[in-house]
Symmetry: C2
Subunit: 330 residues, 2 copies
C-alpha cells in the first residue's frame, strides 16, 4: 500500500503487517509495490466496480469492525454477482479516523480474511491515509466475465419474466430495529434482521450462472422498486410487479405485518443486495434450475412489458400507488 | 455511478449529469450500470493502483476544484507511469462534504475532463456518497502493460545506474511557500513551486518507454531518499547517491539556497511525482535516448551496489547524515 502521508508516525509498518497476509495473490506483489497486476484469461474481460462506506452514513462507529469490513467487501461482490462476474481481486483505500487503533485494524483485517476465504477473492493493494473526519473506506472490486457476456441493466425485453433472489426488506427491517423500532418482533427475528442489514450475502453462485440466461440484472441496493425502475429506464420498457409475490421472511412479517403496505415498505427499503433480474419466459425452467444448482431461492415477481416505469399491482390486480423518495414513479 | 445513499435529495441526477460527459469509453456504459467493462489486448496484463486525497490532509478546502481533481488523477497516473503502463481508465469515489455545491462539482469535473484529454484516459465509474466530514476522494486507475513487463520496485541490481526525471523538491518548496515560508524568493519562483505542488506531471511518456530498460522504478511521493530506500529494501541492494547531482530548479534554489542541506531538504520533501528508476549501466545511452524521445529531462544521480539502504555522499565524496521521519537510514 502507498503511504503518502503519515497516519501516526511509525504506524504504517504496523498497518502493513496487519494487511499483508490478505495479499495472497501473486499480482499483489506482497503490497510492496506502487501497483498490482491482474491478468485475464483469453476470451475474458474485466468487470470493475467501486463503493464507499462512511462512518455515520453507512455504518455506526460501534459496529463490529469485522462486519464493517465484510459489508464493504460484500456490497462490491454483490455488484460483481449481478453482472455475472467471477471475483478476481480488490483494492482497499482506508481513511483512518483518529479513534482507530491497532485492535480495531486487526479485527477489520480478520473480517476481510474470513470473507476472502468464503468468496475466493484477495486484496491486491490500495492506500492508507489519515483523516480528521469519519472513517471512510472505498473498495474497488475486479471480476472477470466472458467477452460480451456481462449482464447489463439495459437488456430487458417485453415478455421477459422478473425474478428476485432471497427475500426483500430484511435489511430495512434490521435498520429499523437498530433505530429502536422493535414493536412485537421476537428477539430471534430481530437478530435475523440485524444480521441481514449488517452482513449482506453476495449471490455470486447464482450470478455466475446467469450470463447465458438473464437479459438484465442488478443488485438491490436502493430498494427493489427503485432498482427495477433503473432496469425499466435503461432498457426502455415497463415492469409490472405483483405485490403478493414479493418474498418476505417470517421475521420481517413479525416486525411489519402482512399488509400490502408492509410489502411496499420492504420493496422500497433498500440494502438488500439480492439479485433482481429479467429473463425470457422460454428460459424459466433453466433459470429455476440454475437457482437450485446455486442453492439460492428465487421468486418470479412480475413481467416486462412495453411502456415505461414500474407498475405495482395488489393481490386483486389493482394498481397500487407508491410514494417514496428515490423511487421513480410513472 | 452507484447512489447508495442520498447526498441531498434530488441532487444525484445533477451529479450524474455533471460526470456523464467524462465517461467517454464504451466500457463505462454511460455510468448507467453497476459496473464497468475493461478489455485487454492479447499479451497484455492490467496494472491497478489506488490513491485517496482528504481535505485538510492532502489539499486545502479553498484550493481550486480543478486542481484537486487533477492532483487526484495525476498521482494515480504517476503510479502507472512508474510501472511502465499505458492508462486504460479510472474509477472515482467521492465522499461529498456539506460545503460542496454544484459550481464546485462542475469545476471539479472540468479539471478531470481537461486531464482526460491530456493523458488519454476516461472515467469508467465509481460511487458518490455524502459525508459529514472532510471531502474525501479516491481514484483507482487501471493501465495495461505487456505480460511480465511491469517495472517493479524489486529489480535493482549492483552496478545499475540510478536516474530521476525532472527536478526534485519543487512540490515541497511550493508547500513551504503556501505555509508562509517565502523568504527572498521572487513571485515567479513562488508561482512555479506552488504550481508543481498543486499539479504534478505524471511522466507517462517516459514511463511507457522504460519497461525494456529499467530494472526498478517508482514515482517519488514520500521523498526521493525515502523512495530510493524502498527500492533498495525490496531489491535487497544498497544505493549510493551524490548530493551534487540531484537536480533542483532555479526557483527552488531561490527559496532554499545552494547548500547540501537545501538539496537534502529537497530530497526528503516528497510529492514530486517524478520517476526514480534504475537501469543496467550498459543501457545508459538507450535510457538517455528514451528520455529525449519522451521530451523529459533525466539526471543520473547515483548507482546501485551490494549492501542495503541509501548512502548520500557530498560533493567531496564524504558520507552525509540524513535525519528525516519516513526516511529509513542505514
Amino acid at each position: 500500500m502507498d503511504k503518502t502521508h503519515a497516519f501516526r508516525p511509525g504506524e504504517f509498518a504496523m498497518i502493513d503487517r496487519i494487511f499483508a497476509p490478505l495479499a495472497t495473490s501473486p499480482g499483489a506483489l506482497g503490497l510492496t509495490d506502487d501497483a498490482a497486476l491482474v491478468a485475464l484469461k483469453p476470451g475474458q474481460e474485466m468487470v470493475v466496480t467501486a463503493d464507499t462506506l462512511v462512518e455515520g452514513v453507512h455504518f455506526f462507529r460501534d459496529d463490529p469492525p469485522e462486519l464493517i469490513a465484510q459489508k464493504a467487501l460484500r456490497v462490491n461482490l454483490s455488484d460483481l454477482a449481478a453482472k455475472g462476474a467471477e471475483p478476481l481481486g480488490y483494492l482497499l483505500t482506508l481513511s483512518l479516523a483518529p479513534w482507530i487503533d491497532e485492535d480495531w485494524l486487526k479485527s477489520f483485517a480478520n473480517g476481510l480474511g474470513a470473507d476472502q476465504m468464503e468468496f475466493g477473492i484477495a486484496l491486491l493493494g490500495g492506500d492508507t491515509t489519515a483523516t480528521p473526519g469519519p472513517l471512510t473506506l472505498s473498495i474497488t472490486a475486479m471480476g472477470s466475465v466472458g467477452l460480451g457476456m456481462m449482464i447489463r441493466r439495459g437488456g430487458a425485453r417485453p415478455g421477459d419474466l422478473v425474478f428476485v433472489s432471497g427475500t426483500i426488506g430484511d435489511a430495512g427491517g434490521g435498520l429499523a430495529v437498530l433505530k429502536g423500532e422493535a414493536a412485537d418482533a421476537s428477539p430471534s427475528a430481530r437478530e435475523v434482521l440485524i444480521g441481514r442489514y449488517r452482513r449482506p450475502t453476495p449471490r455470486l453462485g447464482l450470478g455466475r450462472l446467469l450470463p447465458p440466461l438473464a437479459s438484465a440484472s442488478l443488485d438491490v441496493s436502493d430498494g427493489l422498486l427503485a432498482d427495477l425502475a433503473h432496469i425499466a429506464e435503461v432498457s426502455a420498457v415497463g415492469i409490472v410487479i405483483e405485490v403478493g409475490s414479493i418474498p418476505l421472511t417470517p421475521s420481517l412479517r413479525e416486525l411489519w405485518g402482512n399488509s400490502d403496505e408492509a410489502v411496499i415498505r420492504a420493496a422500497t427499503a433498500g440494502d438488500d443486495y439480492e439479485l433482481a433480474f429479467t429473463a425470457p419466459a422460454i428460459l424459466r425452467e433453466r433459470v429455476v434450475a440454475a437457482a437450485e444448482a446455486a442453492g439460492v431461492s428465487i421468486t418470479e415477481i412480475g413481467r416486462v412489458q412495453a411502456g415505461s416505469g414500474v407498475l405495482l399491482l395488489d393481490r386483486a390486480g389493482n394498481r397500487l400507488p407508491v410514494e417514496k423518495s428515490g423511487f421513480t414513479h410513472f
